[in-house]
C-alpha cells in the first residue's frame, strides 16, 4: 500500500461514510422522537434511487401507485378517527396531501418520464413521490401503536421492512439500476481524481447536517421535536402533539433517505434490496451515538465507511464481518459507560 492507494481508499470510505452518516442521523432522529428503531430507513434509499432511475428511463415508477394507495388508506383512517371524535376540522388538509397530491403526481408522472425533462426536475418529482410515504407509513402503521414498547415497535419495523422490500421487488424487478450523474466532471487533487458527483454527495451531506442543526436549534417545530425527544409526556403537557412530531420526523427521515439514494445511484448500482445493508451500516453508526447523539452518529458513520474501505482492500472476504463485529465492542463500551434509565421518562 502506498500513499495514493491510501488516499483513494480514504476517499471511497468518506463517500460511503457520508451516506451512512445521513442514514444514521435519520435513525437517531426517528428513534428519539418516536422510539421506533426504523429498520425500513434503507427502503427510502432504494425507493428514491429507483424511482429516479425509472423516470430517467422513461417509465412510471410503481411508487406513484403505492403513494396513491397509502394516501387513500390514510384518508380512510383519518376519516374514521374524525367521525369518532366528531372533529372534521383539518380533514381538508389530509385530503390535500394524502389524496389530491398523489393523484396529481400520478397524472403528471408520464410527463416527468417523457424524454427531454431535465434531471433536476425528475429529482424533485421523485422526491415528491417518496417523501409523503414517510408520514403515511407513520399514520397507518406506527401512530395506532404509539404507546407500545420499543420491542413491539421494532418488530413492527421488521414487518414494514419486509413489506416494502417485497413491494420494491414488484415495482423495480430483481436487477439493479443506475441513474445519470447529477453533476459531470472530475477534479484532480494531488494524486487522486475526485468526480464532481463525490463533491455533490459530500456537499449535500454537510448542507443537510447543517440544515438539521439549524432546524433543531432555531425553529419552533425543531425545538418542539427536541422537547418530544427529551420527554414525551412533558412535551404533551405543554401542548406539543407527539403525533404531529411523529409525522414530521418520518417526513424528514423519508426525505433524507430518498435524497441519499439519489446521490449514490449515480455512483453505484442500486437493487431493490440494497437499502437494507446501507441502512444497517447507518444503524451501526447510530449505535456509536447510542441512538441519542447526532455528532457521535456522524463520526461513527465516517469511521464505518473508512473501516469498510480499508478492510475491503486488506481482507475483502471478511469485510462485512469486520464492519458488523465492530458493534460488539461499541455496545460493551456504551453499556459500561451509561447509566440505566427506565424506558419511559
Amino acid at each position: 500500500m502506498d500513499l495514493t492507494i491510501a488516499l483513494i481508499l480514504l476517499q471511497d470510505g468518506i463517500l460511503n461514510g457520508a451516506i451512512y452518516a445521513l442514514l444514521g442521523l435519520a435513525l437517531v432522529l426517528v428513534f428519539l422522537v418516536t422510539r421506533v428503531i426504523f429498520i425500513p430507513q434503507g427502503e427510502f434509499v432504494t425507493f428514491g434511487a429507483l424511482s429516479l432511475a425509472f423516470l430517467a428511463n422513461g417509465r412510471v415508477p410503481g411508487t406513484a401507485y403505492l403513494l396513491l394507495l397509502l394516501g387513500v388508506l390514510t384518508c380512510l383512517v383519518e376519516a374514521v378517527s374524525a367521525w369518532r371524535t366528531h372533529q372534521w376540522r383539518g380533514y381538508g388538509r389530509t385530503l390535500a396531501w394524502a389524496l389530491i397530491l398523489p393523484l396529481a403526481l400520478l397524472a403528471l408522472a408520464p410527463m416527468a418520464a417523457a424524454p427531454g425533462v431535465p434531471l433536476a426536475l425528475r429529482v424533485l418529482f421523485a422526491l415528491a413521490l417518496v417523501i409523503p410515504l414517510g408520514p403515511m407509513i407513520y399514520r397507518l402503521v406506527y401512530q395506532p401503536v404509539e404507546q407500545a414498547s420499543v420491542l413491539v415497535l421494532l418488530i413492527i419495523s421488521v414487518a414494514v421492512h419486509f413489506a416494502l422490500t417485497g413491494l420494491g421487488l414488484l415495482f423495480f424487478g430483481a436487477e439493479g439500476w443506475r441513474t445519470p450523474a447529477l453533476v459531470e466532471g472530475t477534479v484532480q487533487i494531488g494524486p487522486v481524481a475526485w468526480t464532481a458527483q463525490t463533491f455533490a454527495v459530500l456537499g449535500t451531506c454537510v448542507v443537510l447536517i447543517a440544515a438539521l442543526w439549524l432546524f433543531f436549534g432555531r425553529t419552533l417545530y425543531g425545538r418542539a421535536l427536541r422537547a418530544t425527544a427529551v420527554n414525551r409526556r412533558g412535551a404533551r403537557l405543554v401542548g406539543i402533539s407527539t403525533r404531529v412530531a411523529g409525522g414530521l420526523t418520518f417526513t424528514l427521515a423519508a426525505a433524507i433517505g430518498a435524497l441519499s439514494g439519489m446521490l449514490i445511484a449515480a455512483i453505484t448500482t442500486i437493487y431493490y434490496d440494497t437499502g437494507f445493508l446501507i441502512g444497517l451500516k447507518g444503524f451501526v453508526a447510530a449505535i456509536f451515538g447510542g441512538l441519542i447523539s447526532y455528532p457521535a452518529a456522524a463520526a461513527g458513520a465516517l469511521f464505518v465507511g473508512v473501516l469498510e474501505a480499508f478492510s475491503s482492500f486488506w481482507a475483502s472476504p471478511f469485510k462485512e464481518a469486520i464492519v458488523f463485529t465492530l458493534i460488539i465492542p461499541v455496545l460493551l463500551w456504551r453499556s459500561l459507560g451509561s447509566v440505566q434509565l427506565d424506558e419511559e421518562d
Binding site: T269, A309, S316
Partner: protein, 389 residues
C-alpha cells in the same frame, strides 16, 4: 423472520390456488420450486415465467405444474419439496435456482424416491452419481466446462497471469476453485483473488489490490447486474488488460447497467445467448431459437434470459423421458412411475435443448458437453459470438 415466513406461505398458498383449476383432469404432476423472490430473484423470475411455456401434454397424458416460490431460502425450498412429495404426490420436481437450496432438496428427493431436475449450476449437485445424487439431475453447464473454455480463450489471448474477483459465496468459491484448476492446467497463474458481496456499493479496495498485482487478465465471477460494479470500477481505474466474466453475466440487464464499461468483456455462455448469430451448422441453434421464439411470443421481444433457458431445458428433459417411463406400464402418481421416470431420464440421448445437447447416463446427470458453450464478447453494447476464441 416469522413475518417473512408467513408472507411466503401466503404467497405459496396463492400460487397453489392459481394452479388449482388445472387439477381437474391432470395426470402427471410436476412440482416446480424457484427463487422468484430473495437474492436470486433475477434467476427465479425468468425460470418461473418459462414454466408457462412447458408442454401441458406429454405422451398423451395431461401435465400439471405446481409452482412455488422458495424466496432463495434453503428451509423454504425443503418445505416446498416436502409439500410436493407428501401432499401433491408429484412425479418429478424441477428446481430450485440456487445450489445450496438444491443440495438440501436432493436429500428429500432421494428419501421419497422422486426424480429432481435442478436448475442450479454447481457440479456438486450431481457428481459423483451415488447416494442421494442418484435421483438428482441438472440442466445448467458445469462451472468446470465454462472455466476450461475461458482458459482456452486466455491462452489464445496470451494471458499469462490472472486476477480474480468473485462473490463471497458458494458461486465465487466454486469458480475460484474451477478457474484455478483450469488456468493452472494451461500454465496461467492466478496472482490475486478478491471477494465482494452482491449488495456492495463499492469495490474500490478490491480493485486497487487487483491492479497492484498487475495481472494480464481479470476474471469477474459473479451473476446478474452486480457484475457491473467491478467491471465499471476496473475500467474507471484505467485497467488495460482483458476482462473476463462468467456465464452469470449473460443477462441483458447487465448491459443496461454497465453501459460502455462493458464493451470488450469476454465470457463463455450457453448457445442460447447468441442463438441468432450461430452458424446453421451449430447443433444447438434450432433448439435454442425454439425457446427464444416461444418466450418472446409470450413476454415480448428481447426478453429472453439464459436463466429461463435452464428451466426450459428441464422441461425438454421430462418431455423426452416421460413417454419412455409410461411405456413401462407404471401409472403416474406411483413410486413405480417415479423410478421409471428416473431411469428414463438417464437414457436421454442426443436431446437438443436451448443450452446444448443432452446425453445423460448412469454416471453423468449433467449431460452437457462442449456443444453447450460458446465464447461471447460484448461489442458496442451487444453480445457477439466469437467463433475464434
Amino acid at each position: 423472520m416469522t413475518f417473512a415466513r408467513s408472507f411466503r406461505l401466503t404467497l405459496g398458498a396463492a400460487a397453489l390456488l392459481a394452479a388449482l383449476p388445472l387439477t381437474v383432469s391432470a395426470q402427471i404432476k410436476v412440482g416446480v420450486t424457484v427463487s422468484a423472490t430473495g437474492p436470486a430473484a433475477s434467476l427465479g423470475i425468468p425460470e418461473r415465467d418459462t414454466v408457462a411455456l412447458l408442454p401441458t401434454e406429454i405422451g398423451g397424458q395431461k401435465v400439471q405444474y405446481i409452482v412455488l416460490d422458495d424466496a432463495t431460502d434453503t428451509t423454504q425450498a425443503v418445505k416446498n419439496i416436502r409439500k410436493f412429495t407428501a401432499d401433491d404426490h408429484v412425479d418429478v420436481v424441477l428446481g430450485t435456482s440456487v445450489t445450496p437450496a438444491s443440495l438440501a432438496m436432493s436429500d428429500v428427493a432421494a428419501e421419497t424416491k422422486t426424480p429432481m431436475i435442478s436448475v442450479a449450476a454447481n457440479a456438486k449437485l450431481v457428481e459423483p452419481v451415488d447416494g442421494p445424487r442418484k435421483w438428482v439431475f441438472k440442466t445448467p453447464q458445469n462451472d468446470a466446462l465454462m472455466a476450461s473454455a475461458l482458459a482456452d480463450a486466455m491462452v489464445k489471448q496470451k494471458v499469462k497471469t490472472l486476477g480474480f474477483i468473485g462473490f463471497s459465496d458458494a458461486y465465487g468459491d466454486g469458480w475460484l476453485q474451477e478457474m484455478k484448476a483450469a488456468a493452472e492446467a494451461k500454465g496461467i497463474k492466478v496472482v490475486a483473488a478478491e471477494r465482494f458481496a452482491r449488495p456492495d456499493t463499492s469495490v474500490t479496495g478490491q480493485v486497487l489490490k487487483l491492479l497492484a498485482a498487475r495481472p494480464d487478465g481479470i476474471l469477474i465471477a459473479a451473476s446478474g447486474t452486480p457484475v457491473a460494479l467491478p467491471q465499471r470500477e476496473l475500467v474507471e481505474r484505467g485497467y488495460k488488460g482483458k476482462i473476463y466474466q462468467t456465464h452469470g453475466a449473460a443477462n441483458s440487464d447487465v448491459l443496461r447497467v454497465c453501459g460502455k464499461a462493458c464493451n470488450g468483456m469476454i465470457l463463455p455462455a450457453g448457445p442460447l445467448l447468441v442463438a441468432e448469430q450461430l452458424p446453421d451448422s451449430n447443433p444447438a441453434k434450432k433448439s435454442a431459437l425454439a425457446y427464444v421464439h416461444a418466450y418472446e411470443a409470450k413476454y415480448g421481444p428481447g426478453t429472453t434470459n439464459t436463466f429461463g433457458g435452464h428451466m426450459w431445458d428441464a422441461g425438454q428433459l421430462i418431455n423426452d423421458a416421460i413417454p419412455r417411463a409410461l411405456k413401462t406400464g407404471a401409472k403416474p402418481g406411483t413410486p413405480e412411475f417415479r423410478a421409471a421416470l428416473r431411469d428414463a431420464l438417464e437414457q436421454v440421448h442426443e436431446l437438443p435443448a436451448s443450452q446444448g445437447i443432452f446425453n445423460m447416463s448412469p454416471t453423468d446427470h449433467a449431460g452437457l458437453d462442449k456443444r453447450g458453450r460458446v465464447m461471447v464478447q460484448v461489442v458496442n453494447g451487444k453480445w457477439t459470438y466469437q467463433p475464434d476464441l
